[in-house]
Symmetry: C2
Subunit: 261 residues, 2 copies
């Protein structure tokens, strides 16, 4: 009870002072955190936002369209606070331990598959203005944001990318972004530090309406058919990591804001 | 900063008062929670126990032998407090939503695969006395505990089991426990409410030294060859849920105490 009481106090304090840390690219106080929820607690009656997030991250909770309304403050707090970065760091640490343990031939055919949105590039500036996933997805507005080419890098993923390149592992990006977003996506990647890649695969119209897991499996199969060895694969969605030709080992980055099947 | 400060205060208060709730079957104050960690916080320098646990639950952190020493208090707090139960409840809620959405033929061949340890039966009374996974696994002591047949049910898994039976889905238990533990395991299951099952599969000596994922895949394949339809599969280890013949949908229960490949 002492813990709950003090957490409640913490939420009030945090909300009134707006004292959570925010990345430079996110405007201050864009979103008021609500007192009944927050990064520390599960004070929402009937729904534990912590349990919801764990359920999402473990692929138990699937096929959801929007973040539960009561978890808006919790997810916002998580994404803008320290924990999202820390959770991403723990994933990248494991990925690097794994990559460094490989006995690589340096024959030029080792590749690592990277997803783009919420994996290499962050759309947090967009989602912070749109309820952190509580608002239904608006393709028009989201594509407008994409076309600005202003998405920052996820710092931990950029660290992974750089170290993999230094180990002689090449990057292959496979994204759900559409082919007509190629030039802005390439420019955005380069601007934030992803300067080179073996392949940048965008979704062709023929995949329209098909699940991402089918599209991505198919494109990974093509990569392997072209003679590459997929040593690793990282994404924020389970549909990046399941299916076929998944690679030798997969890594799931956190993303409590949206679900793609 | 206000949040961190107050969380720190919360940990101190909680530790000094020992005010976490504990299940009846676990002795009170068996394990002093340490002030530098706790369910609320990630105050351990260099390692976020929250990130470690998320990494474990998402199968990013694999092949580990023991819980990191600094996370003993955190894991103990998690397991004995409310969050473990809440996280399990969120998983079972999804499993039931799924099961109730199935159009079942009630032809008697629908089965659900249940793991046993940390899925249907809880070894928390044992682990609470052995550092919540910080101590290296001791087969002699653990088997002595198993032979007592005193493991309680995981309440949420028992709820799932009962509802599945009422839907006409039969239970198949596949466990890493060995064949010579059959009678005590069956008696333990019945004592805590799992009264009936289609099959109880224990590990035969021929699987000795082989990964659990091979053993369990192989046994699920036999279940399917015998004409059953695996509509669902639940376990606390990813090795319960990966491999082949995994069933139509899988559910991952939390377990930050040990890893089985």
């Amino acid at each position: 009870m002492a813990l709950l009481l003090v957490l409640f106090l913490a939420n009030i304090l945090t909300t009134s002072k707006g004292s959570i840390s925010q990345p430079d690219h996110v405007h201050h106080q864009i979103h008021l955190l609500r007192p009944q929820s927050g990064a520390g607690g599960n004070l929402v009656p009937g729904l534990s936002c912590l349990s919801w997030r764990l359920g999402v991250e473990t692929n138990n909770i699937i096929g959801w369209k929007t973040v539960p309304q009561v978890c808006e403050g919790y997810v916002g707090h998580y994404m803008l606070g320290h924990q999202y970065l820390k959770d991403s760091r723990a994933v990248v640490n494991e990925a690097l331990l794994y990559a460094q343990s490989l006995e690589l031939d340096r024959d030029g055919i080792d590749v690592w598959i990277f997803d783009i949105d919420e994996t290499t590039l962050s759309n947090l500036p967009y989602y912070a203005k749109h309820g952190f996933g509580v608002e239904p997805f608006n393709a028009t507005l989201f594509n407008k944001w994409v076309m600005e080419g202003a998405a920052p890098a996820l710092p931990e993923s950029l660290r992974l990318y750089r170290k993999l390149l230094s180990l002689g592992i090449k990057a292959v990006f496979i994204t759900g972004r559409s082919e007509d977003q190629r030039s802005v996506t390439a420019a955005n990647l380069k601007k934030v530090g992803y300067h080179t890649w073996e392949k940048l695969v965008l979704k062709e119209p023929s995949y329209s309406g098909k699940p991402s897991v089918i599209y991505k499996s198919n494109e990974r199969k093509k990569v392997e058919k072209n003679g590459y060895r997929i040593v690793g694969n990282i994404g924020d969605q389970w549909s990046d990591l399941l299916g076929t030709n998944t690679g030798n080992r997969t890594f799931k980055l956190p993303d409590p804001m949206y679900y793609i099947s």
